[in-house]
Amino acid sequence: MQKQNRLIYFLLSLPAFVLYSVFFIYPLMNGFIYSLQDWNGVGRDKDFVGISNYITLFSDIRVRNTLSFTLRYTIALLVGTIVLSITIALLLDSIIKARGFFRTMYFMPAVLSTLTVGLIWNQLFSNALPQFGRLIGSESLSSNVLGDVKLAFWAVVFTALWQGLATNVLLFLSALQNIPKDLIEAAGLDGANKRQIFFRIKLPFIIPTLNIVIILTAKNGLMAFDNIFALTSGGPARTTESIGMLIYKFAFEEFKYSYSSALAILIFVIIGILTIIQLRTSERYEVKA
């Protein structure tokens, strides 16, 4: 009976294990091997070149610019997401009437396709906003902001927040609603002001949510693709080219297969290290609090 069960378990789990090995683990290892070779994707010859692809990455200006954009974008996204979604969640938590309605509306962007959202904003920035700019007589708004090196960056951040806040607002809201109400009332009776209530009572309760939001947002920011691809395609003059896009362009537009794989592995390592640091520091904080 035991033996027979063991065979049944083995057979039941086999399809998933085979699929995962063939379509996930194997290509992942393959990517690592590519990164140590010198392959353009078409030719038959793949020479082993060791870590030379990685060394080239560090001196490649385009990679450096892309990395700089991606980091600035991720930081802006993190700051914007944390500040705005906590603020909106606090406001939603403080109202009673129509809370359900506001929650429904604020969450709606999360169900739309990121590509559609990017394409809509692309149209609005290039066609609607210049008309509005001329109407109010603003010179900087009269031309397409997506063509302006400085403004394009903020347009990318803005559209990412427009869609990305939704889920995070909800996460913070449900964390806030789990705080025992009498705790806040008691603090209010003891004469605590709003700031004290937020920092001393509410914040410790939302720290676990904050950790999740930071990890998810950082991962989204560092690997951004759809939204930027649809909004600017990396322009103007490649100033909004993200790492996720560069991996794609190297691989499928410029046929630098091995080089693209090296970049992908490098980013994977960076994300892994950042995740570990984040988890370690938050652990320490939670123990203290």
Binding site: Y9, A16, V111, S113, L124, T167, I247, A251, I267
Partner: protein, 279 residues
């Protein structure tokens, strides 16, 4: 004084929330009115309300492209992937948790959970290469990939649920009654995991329906394979640039998901927040 302050706070809260609501709705409103206007009206004034019920944009989009075919493709891919996910993922999680003391199963459990942290771009190139070599650059191949990639988070979520919610003695009672492994799973375990199944359906539906990069890599070669998202992307290049037509295409593509959201929003919100917190 205190009461006055409270009232002011409340009015202020509603005011800020209303401003936020305005920012969320403006692009969707503009998309809608632009879809109902001829180009010359939009060039004259982008923000004006349509003068009449102008449907030509929608008619052009639907008749000039295979809109319903793309809609059908998206639906088929979603349905087939979901069936595959719901057959394989909870079952595999259950088998792993039953045998977690064995090294073999523990290895795969860690491999699945570690997979959550791997961004798709890290191995998109070798995957695409492999799909090409195996002649899987079609909807069937894409469905296989969705089922496989859903395993990382899915097995993690189901495993947590099995460990914390499913009582051990219940299964033992079923075994005593002479139910085999498969019977026990189908008639007792799977029905008990319903809440988690809801979360997994919602998370994966939104991901698969809205996904862009995987269809772009696997399906873009042949127009007959396109999904709704690919159609919108290619729309940009296949028409001379007529933004009223583009907005009609956007609106048509958003309508199905917004309808689903309106009807199931309670479950969607619960599912998405639940899934994010647990992963």
């Amino acid at each position: 004084m205190n009461k006055k302050q409270l009232k002011f706070d409340r009015v202020f809260s509603y005011f800020v929330l209303a401003v936020g609501l305005f920012i969320i709705l403006v692009p969707l409103y503009l998309a809608l009115i632009t879809a109902f206007k001829p180009t010359k009206d939009s060039i004259a004034n982008f923000f004006s309300f349509p003068k009449s019920l102008y449907l030509d944009n929608f008619i052009t989009v639907i008749s000039n492209s295979n809109f319903f075919k793309f809609f059908g493709n998206s639906t088929l891919i979603l349905a087939a992937s979901l069936i595959g996910i719901l057959v394989l993922v909870p079952l595999t999680a259950y088998v792993i948790q039953k045998n977690i003391s064995s090294k073999y199963y523990r290895f795969f459990y860690f491999a699945f959970v570690a997979g959550i942290l791997v961004p798709f771009q890290v191995f998109m190139l070798p995957v695409t290469q492999q799909m090409n070599k195996l002649n899987l650059m079609h909807q069937g191949g894409l469905i296989v990939l969705y089922i496989t990639f859903a395993m990382t988070q899915g097995i993690f979520l189901y495993s947590g649920y099995i460990r914390t919610v499913i009582p051990k003695d219940l299964e033992e009672a079923a075994y005593m009654d002479g139910c085999g492994v498969i019977r026990t799973y189908i008639s007792i375990i799977f029905p008990m995991m319903k809440p988690m199944t809801g979360t997994v359906i919602i998370l994966n539906s939104l991901w698969i329906w809205n996904d862009f990069l995987l269809p772009l890599l696997i399906l873009n070669k042949s127009q007959s394979y396109w999904t709704l998202v690919l159609f919108q992307y290619n729309f940009k290049s296949s028409y001379t640039f007529d933004f009223n037509l583009a907005f009609a295409a956007f609106v048509l593509s958003m309508v199905p998901i917004i309808i689903v959201y309106v009807f199931f929003q309670k479950y969607i919100i619960a599912g998405l927040t639940g899934g994010a917190v647990k992963s």
